[in-house]
């Protein structure tokens, strides 16, 4: 049995579960649930408010996670960590709090064709509000970003480049460091936001080494809780941001006429934050760091290769994604007439085999349209708890679905 499975309590309730949808949300590690329960049952107070010990304890735990996240990302200062509701909230926060202040008419915003809607729509909306120009780096026929034509896209008007580290559809790992070097060689002032939602659970990340300005990710895709995410900002970039959500916990002084705000991440964390979830995120980081990245990477790489090889043996399957420099996020369609559609496949696999995959556009419609996949794809995405046995079950289930759809022709 996969040695990580025992850390995930869901398998005690569902021993037969074949969970292949970690790209949507990963299963939760037991340590995460225990730590959150600890908050709720031992020190369930609000932070930064009470002067009683339980509130002090909650504040300390919350702020400890800030430092832990910074270290996890290779950064130095907890003050560069803003807790958000997730990666989506992080991108929106940058678009509102930084974009609104720094993007002007005719400025250019650059994203890529492989972005999740969460790293596309906030920029499209910002561009509309500001009469700025939204440009796309294309995806080529090898399912990688076309970096040959960067000179045609990046210029002196480019203000921000927002791109994903790993595609949630294709599984492509983008060479972030190389891209940023090339972009900054053309225009050194370009600010770079990286969406790490599909990356953080699958590879070590160092924001300083990558030389990014903003980095966002979600807790729930890294075996942590839903409802919490992180926006890491370079210190200078944070100074260029203006709060965009207002309320308690983020003010210095309020009069009837005006309000002043403190410097630091709390200016962007109005209201009671997701305290339990932040505590759980800290546990998810501890969980990942208690293991060896080398081992995680090797296991996932081996299982990805096994999955690709197994899927390729079914002649009806066409895979959309690169052969190498990829993670275990694999999208496919069943080709030919009268095959199960993406939703039929997801339905049959789940109902008959307890095999969970994702069906549809995976929040990346422009990418699907580019490859004429208007009716969506079926996506398998791997987590630390997956093993070859899961893939064998997946293959058995896909063959069953094909048989069901062939039954009229065959007899």
């Amino acid at each position: 049995m996969n040695k990580y499975k025992k850390y995930f309590p869901i398998f005690e309730n569902n021993p037969e579960l074949v969970y292949l949808d970690s790209g949507a949300t990963a299963l939760k590690a037991g340590i995460v649930l225990d730590r959150m329960n600890g908050y709720y049952t031992e020190f369930s107070a609000n932070i930064n408010r009470g002067l009683y010990p339980m509130s002090e304890k909650a504040t300390e735990e919350y702020e400890e996670v800030r430092k832990k996240v910074a270290k996890f990302l290779g950064a130095e200062h907890g003050s560069e960590i803003i807790f958000t509701g997730g990666a989506t909230a992080g991108v929106n926060l940058v678009a509102r709090s930084w974009g609104e202040e720094n993007i002007e008419e005719e400025d250019e915003i650059v994203i890529t064709e492989m972005e999740h809607h969460s790293n596309l729509v906030p920029w499209q909306e910002l561009a509309k509000r500001k009469k700025a120009v939204l440009k796309f780096i294309e995806v080529d026929e090898t399912y990688k970003l076309d970096l040959e034509n960067l000179e045609k896209i990046i210029n002196s008007k480019t203000k921000i480049l927002a791109l994903t580290q790993v595609s949630n559809v294709l599984g492509t790992i983008n060479p972030i460091k190389e891209i940023i070097k090339k972009v900054k060689a053309i225009n050194s002032k370009v600010v770079v936001l990286v969406d790490g939602a599909q990356a953080v659970a699958h590879m070590p990340v160092n924001v300083i080494d990558l030389d990014v300005d903003f980095y966002v990710f979600s807790g729930h895709k890294m075996y942590g809780p839903t409802g919490v995410g992180v926006l890491w900002t370079k210190a200078q970039r944070q100074l260029e941001m203006r709060p965009s959500i207002f309320g308690g916990g983020m003010i210095k002084e309020v009069t009837k006429e005006m309000t002043t705000y403190p410097l630091g991440p709390e200016a962007f964390e109005a209201g009671t934050p997701p305290i339990a979830q932040v505590v759980g995120l800290g546990a998810a980081i501890d969980f990942l760091e208690s293991m060896s990245w080398k081992e995680i990477l090797e296991n996932e790489d081996e299982l990805t290769k096994y999955t690709l090889k197994s899927l390729e043996k079914i002649p009806e399957i066409k895979i959309f994604g690169p052969i190498s420099e990829r993670v275990g996020v694999i999208s496919m369609v069943l080709t030919g007439k009268n095959r199960p559609g993406a939703h039929d496949l997801g339905d049959i696999l789940g109902r008959k085999f307890n095999v969970c995959i994702r069906s549809g556009h995976h929040c990346a419609m422009p990418l699907h349209h580019k490859f004429d996949l208007d009716y969506g794809t079926s996506r398998v995405s791997l987590g630390i708890y997956n093993e070859k046995k899961d893939i064998d079950k997946l293959i058995e289930a896909i063959k069953y679905a094909l048989d069901i759809f062939n039954c009229i022709e065959n007899g």
Partner: protein, 118 residues
Amino acid sequence: MVDDLYREIILEHYKNPENMGVLEGGIEMEEVNALCGDKLKIGVKIKNGIIKEAKFRGGGCAISMAAVDILLGMVIGKKLSEVKKMSGHEIEEAMGVELTSSRKKCAYLGLEVLKKIK
């Protein structure tokens, strides 16, 4: 092999739809399934408030395709005002299956399009 959802009636309508095609000179309406992004277009010809002809275009899963094909078979010859009162449950009954909430969205899309006709 027989599956309890993908029964012969559904697969037959998916593979050999009776009402797929383009209707020249009719009214055409469309709707997108927010769950999956499937786009469905239905063209109808109405005379004296009665649906005389109906055709659909679009693609996607077998459930949505079979459901709209079955639905159009049910509504041709009916008053538009009556069609607008139809419930999704009637489609499920005609399909002979009970659908989960997410698949209901696939199956009910055709009816949503018809209800948009003024």
